[in-house]
Amino acid sequence: MTQNMTPNLQNYDVRAAAAAPILAMTGWDKPQAGIKLTTAPPAGRFNLRGSPEYCRRICEKMSLALPPKMLQAAGGNQNAVLWLGPDEYYLYTEDADKAAHLAASAASNAAPDHGSLVDNSHRFVGFHIEGENVATLLMAYCPLDVTAAAFPVGKATRTIMAKIDVLLWRQSETKFHIEIARSFAQYGLRLLAFAASNQAALRQAGLI
């Protein structure tokens, strides 16, 4: 049986379309407490695990730059490699050609030596959270210190937000990219909306 290795890129558009109602459903169709939450553009996401040599080889083949340190992102906001753990990288690309190429090599499992490349594009949805108090908002549910001093621009890590694991990636002083598993996205966004309304009330009362 021949297998079609070329991913259906229409799916990426479908995902973007499907993500739009979620903003309205969760109260994020307008900014809350000075925070703007929007869906990230459609993107390919790949989990790369294995020996450092294997990971380097895959990234070089895709002309993706590797971050110099663990828990950092490299390569810009559209085509990035996030170094999440000693043997784990997260490849993120909004470039449809690159995504298709990576998906094909993930499907063909061309170099299964001491590593794995898995297409996670449909598992996660990405959101951009922007605003001056973005760190305060995230820390309502993340036990991690995400203030600029502890979590500088370019840092990326997996962590816990309330009951779910998310991927946090700081793209600028006031902007985070957050990756949430698709089925948890509504839960995560509702939590953030609730925290935003609380913080708006507290700020209005002069308590924070």
Binding site: L71, G85, P86, D87, L144
Partner: protein, 92 residues
């Protein structure tokens, strides 16, 4: 409570999963050994419950995914040492 992951620094306990005693070793399988069943029963079911230092396995499941060997005082929950299991394995 926080655990100081060697890769990520101090992180909330919520990000970690506990996997029990780190000092367990699977018994050698030898058909001639009359105590084999007793040894395996011990290995699979029986655990010490020390009051004091305990070496245990944790995984930074919702962080860097690394396996860790943690030395914890069961009286105070003070974690005196956290090492990556891979590193510990190389040293052994």
């Amino acid at each position: 409570m926080r655990i100081k992951c060697p890769h990520c620094g101090e992180r909330s306990l919520d990000e970690f999963s506990y996997y029990g005693d780190a000092t367990l070793r699977r018994p050698e399988v030898n058909d001639q050994d009359a105590n084999l069943l007793a040894k395996f029963t011990d290995y699979v079911y029986l655990r010490d419950n020390p009051a004091g230092q305990h070496q245990e396995l944790w995984q930074h499941q919702f962080g860097c995914r690394a396996w860790l060997v943690v030395t914890r005082d069961t009286n105070s929950h003070l974690m005196t040492e956290v090492t990556a299991a891979a590193q510990k394995g190389e040293a052994a």
